[in-house]
Amino acid sequence: MKFSVFQLSRIGGRQNNEDRMGYCYTRESGLFVLADGMGGHPQGEVAAQLALETVSALYQKEAKPILRDPAQFLSNALLAAHLQINRYATRKAMLDTPRTTLVAAVVQGNSATCVHCGDSRLYLVREGQLLMRTRDHSFIEQRNAGLTRIEHLNRNILFSCLGSTAKPVFDLTGPIKLMQGDKLLLCSDGLWGSLSDDEIVLQLAGKPVSDAVPDMVESALRVAGDTSDNVTVLAIEWETPDIFESSQVIIADSMLDGEFASTIQTGLLDTKTDDLDEASIERSIAEINEAIRRSGTKKV
């Protein structure tokens, strides 16, 4: 498996950056995640961080080295993240729960599968054309799709997210067969709120991701001006034919069995909170037994 990846997050004109992004991969599978902690509720950045950590932790547990069923994994992981956020709010006795959007894509065996909840998006671009993009769980997108007929809508109002008291509504997309040179882009509304789909596609198609991402983020910040929302973008190019110098080119084939790499820092789950949920206890035990097995075989 080989791909180029580039990710960038900028705070814009806000006090905090409540967006979180990251990716992890094994020899034969990759996970890309982005979450946008929601304003209007407390600790959006915590919700986003918890979502990332939960999804990546589950991924690490299950991608050995591939996920058996990416769609199943993504829906489970999304719900686990939702529960994790609620649990956090309960433990902290919060009056209102932290909330976040989530978009996550798994790429393995030449196909991509994606889950999303809220208004963080995934774009898939092939040969300069937009092949697909996710539909936000916002009333305005429902109206655009002819599902709602309310006149004045705030684009920011979502009807689904992670962390709320209601079970999240989410959509699975794929699996979509990928072709060499396909580009996947995950972004928060800071990007698409300022740039049109056409602009995003244009930028993404014309340059290597290591140039396209910073350029896009920069133009989004410029368009939005001083009050810009956080802008976060993660893009990958599948089976990159050429090595682009400044982007991170991942050639996972050389990885060992069981090897795992991640850009997602597990700060929250591990240090700040004492939250060892069932899944992470099981995971720790599995990891230890795996290590025992490995060092045992070394000895023989």
Binding site: D270, D274, D275, L276, I281, E282, S284, I285, E287, I288, N289, A291, I292, R294, S295, G296, K298, K299
Partner: protein, 335 residues
């Protein structure tokens, strides 16, 4: 109000396919059992059951955790995992090995190989009570610590520190292997969070930086403890603790009593390992190993008359001090 210790599992309890034979030991972190698997092979199983945070009724299986202690309990559990994770990576004859890790009774268990023998502490005490001039022979000390250091080197290679090396944590098996047991990494994490269970160091064996809990800990911290263990193996008693030494260092004086009994080189090694300044100690196990395995002809320096007098004087003074303290203690009692 004294806290009742959680009760250990009774013999014949089945846990994770093992049958408990008896309790081997209990510490702040939990209980260690001797257990057998279905084929009758013996194992030591450590149960996570922190005595200050949990309770268990006699005959019960599930421990109860006080709600207000739950977060510390979970934190401790993480440390227990850390210990397991650390040990799982290492497969070396001089480091206790973890064979399995499982969950049951709402807690976790670490299965280790069962070692038959005794701790170095037991041996030191036995040897000391024989009242011979030497507690251990020098060649015994050299080969024993060579073995321990091989294990410790692997531990350090895995970017871990033991942080509680002491004779009680060095196990001598019946087939004469020395094995490092009871990995303190777990305790280390806990102590950072404060207020947990018990002091996280053993006086006499803990380097000065352990008391400070700052970032200056490193391989040299374990090396201090090794020096202190060698000291105890020569002297029969642990050395003064680091705070005492910082106030008034009598290490050289105490070691000079061993001159002529143990080689100058071995005495120097102990002084080197136990330097109060971390930077003055061997910085790696390897450099210590090199020094310890030097096969040069050993030279012994007898004490000079002056030194003998000073030693004697020192004994007299400390005896007088003791007598004086006793006397004043008596005096206060009679007031």
């Amino acid at each position: 109000m004294s806290k009742v210790k959680p009760s250990s599992l009774p013999p014949d309890t089945l846990i994770g396919g093992y049958r408990v034979v008896r309790k081997l030991s209990a510490g702040g972190f939990g209980v260690v059992y001797l257990a057998v698997d279905t084929e009758g092979q013996q194992f030591a199983i450590k149960e996570y059951l922190p005595s200050s945070l949990s309770s268990r009724a006699v005959g019960a299986l599930l421990p109860q955790v006080l709600p207000e202690k739950l977060s510390l309990y979970r934190l401790g559990l993480k440390s227990f995992f850390e210990e397991g994770r650390s040990l799982a990576q290492i497969s070396h004859g001089s480091v206790v090995s973890v064979l399995n890790f499982f969950r049951e009774n709402e807690t976790v268990y670490m299965v280790m190989n069962y070692l038959e023998g005794g701790t170095l502490q037991d041996f030191v005490i036995t040897a000391r009570d024989l009242k011979k001039q030497k507690v251990f022979r020098e060649s015994t000390i050299r080969s024993l610590y060579d073995e321990i250091l091989r294990g410790l080197r692997i531990v350090h290679q895995h970017k871990m520190l033991h942080l509680d090396i002491k004779p009680a944590n060095i196990f001598i098996t019946d087939d004469n292997r020395a094995v490092l047991i009871d990995f303190g990494a777990a305790r280390e994490v806990l102590s950072k969070e404060g207020n947990f269970i018990r002091p996280m160091y053993t006086p006499g064996f803990a380097a000065p930086e352990m008391y400070r809990r700052d970032s200056s800990m490193g391989p040299w911290t374990d090396i201090y403890a090794i020096g202190a263990c060698i000291y105890a193996s020569m002297q029969g008693y642990p050395p003064n603790d680091a705070p005492q030494r910082l106030e008034k260092d009598r290490l050289s004086l105490a070691l000079s009593r061993l001159r002529g009994i143990y080689s100058d080189n071995l005495i120097e090694v102990v002084e080197w390992c136990m330097a109060l300044d971390p930077l003055s100690r061997p910085q790696s196990v390897f450099s210590l190993q090199k020094e310890l395995s030097r096969e040069n002809e050993r030279s012994y320096t007898k004490l000079t008359v002056g030194e003998k007098v000073r030693l004697q004087f020192d004994t007299v003074v400390s005896d007088t001090k003791k007598t004086a303290r006793k006397a004043s203690a008596l005096a206060t009692r009679f007031k």
